[in-house]
């Protein structure tokens, strides 16, 4: 059991609770693909953060409004040009990286807009997807990757090693990494073999100075 999870977050989904722990009080936060606004509502309440969620789905956006979260109904694939350099303390993208057209460009945009970026994604390098594809020859379906190949929103699945390769190529500092299982729990094995045993990966990123 990871010590980070011992902090109470009133029933907040565990991955969001982990992200919350990484965010400093009073920060200005941009949450890309913010869903129903749970994370931002929680951060507003407990950490006095300000900011906006970006969300394309109207029902999710309405849920955000109902929670008192500032939500902008915008398409991440249309780019983030309208946001100025360094205008946020944190830019968060939870479980949306694999759904966008150009994850590499979006990460660069996140690093441009925010001092810190927090990214989470399902790890395709986990042993279960490997097993499914390697032995059974079937596209994996699991709790972390619940969609079938034909109806999945995921168009850019990657592994922990792939992602870290991208960070290396782009000279992005990995400030923190955390891998968990589908129940958002971590253990020693996952820390030792994140690419094989981690189902969901969480990263805090920063632009390398001079980049």
């Amino acid at each position: 059991m990871n010590t980070l999870l011992t902090q109470t977050h009133d029933g907040l989904r565990d991955d969001l609770a982990l992200i919350s722990n990484w965010i400093t009080p009073g920060a200005r936060v941009l949450d890309l693909g913010c869903g129903d606004g749970t994370l931002l509502a929680h951060l507003q309440r407990t950490k006095n953060v300000t900011g906006y969620g970006l969300e394309i789905d109207p029902d999710n956006a309405i849920a955000c409004i109902g929670l008192g979260v500032n939500v902008l109904q915008l398409d991440l694939d249309a780019g983030l040009d309208q946001f100025e350099d360094n205008s946020f303390d944190f830019v968060v993208m939870s479980s949306a990286l694999q759904e966008v057209q150009r994850p590499d460009q979006l990460i660069e945009e996140m690093l441009r807009i925010g001092r810190d970026s927090i990214v989470t994604f399902p790890n395709f390098g986990h042993w279960r997807p490997r097993l499914s594809l390697g032995l059974r020859g079937l596209m994996p379906v699991s709790k972390a990757l619940p969609n079938r190949w034909y109806d999945t929103p995921n168009i850019h699945l990657c592994t922990v090693r792939d992602f870290e390769g991208l960070c290396r190529d782009k000279q992005v500092d990995i400030v923190r990494r955390h891998v968990v299982n589908h129940a958002h729990r971590s253990n020693l094995g996952m820390r030792a073999f994140p690419n094989l045993l981690g189902e969901i990966a969480l990263y805090q990123l920063r632009r390398t100075v001079g980049f």
Binding site: R28, T50, Y52, P58, A61, I62, A63, C64, I65, G66, G68, V69, N70, V71, L72, Q73, L74, Q82, F83, E84, S87
Partner: protein
Amino acid sequence: MAERRSHSVGLVEPQTLHVDTPMGLDCGKTLSQFDLVYETYGKLNAARSNAILICHALSGNHHAAGYHSEADVKPGWWDKCIGPGKMIDTDRFFVVSPANLGGYNGSTGPHSLHPETGRHYGPDFPVLTCADWVRSQDILRRALDIEQWAAVVGGSLGGMQVMQWSIDYPDRLAHAIVIAAAPKLSAQNIAFNEIARQAIVTDPEFHGGRYYEHDVVPRRGLMLARMLGHITYLSDEAMRAKFGRDLRAGRINYGFDVEFQVESYLRYQGASFVDRFDANTYLLMTKALDYFDPAYATGGDLAAAFAPVTARFMVVSFTSDWRFSPARSREIVDALVDAGKEVSYAEVTSDLGHDDFLLTMPHYVNSLRAYLGRVADEAGT
């Protein structure tokens, strides 16, 4: 009748605020006295914290909801959205809807008699701006003894007044709801307005704006202006769906009479507009639209213009609106984000065009209902 009115504010009666303190206008002139006509719906709570101001669009007036008499066939212009349990819920809010200065059947305007000369103002009525309207609405606010609007709400030209409110009287509104608007008109928008104005002023019956004294109205000009306007309020798709290229007589007649259904529709819209609208008012309202540019004072920097804003914003646009497209609404949103203000933005998928804001698409209604629900909770109502 009872069924029709079950979700209606019911019978309403306009009220008049007479102001005899002179009010300076942006154009440099002063109105020595004037009337503001308004309607209210719902009840003001004990804390006087649940008042919503409705700013109307170009052809609107004080009659936003309900009926004036039992025999009234058509309700107010925004009746679909204002009423008990509706998007702007009169069970929770006290809604105030004024007619703007310069209007045609309520507040003092060009048709009114000049208090000194006893003649119709006509072309002597001063040119107005959104800021002038907002100033007069603030006089109404004080007269109603309302410290702060829970929200100021408006679509199109009304949305521009909402922005002006947030900048000019930051402490006087908690929320600003801007629907189907733009931070300023484009050259194309101004061009449409100018054609409409030229249609009016070149009508032989315009008489330099003194047509009241000749007991005529520049019908043809006003009708053309409305026909043009109407095309810009509807989307290409909406017109195609409604009329296509349907022929009235079922065949082509190779003449210049009405042949296509859409021609018939536009003539009807134009003609009915003449009966309920004043040509001088049309000139004034379109000019106010053209002039609106809150960033003018800050060298074109809209974010800087929004610097004093404390209101929280909700901005809504419609995908088929090409008069004020979603891109124009996003300019407002971007400037508010740059200025570090609180804003939410909904882009509603729609078919009809600019006039969508008068309707009740679920995404639109549910977004504003959720937003106004929070506003009402905050207002303690």
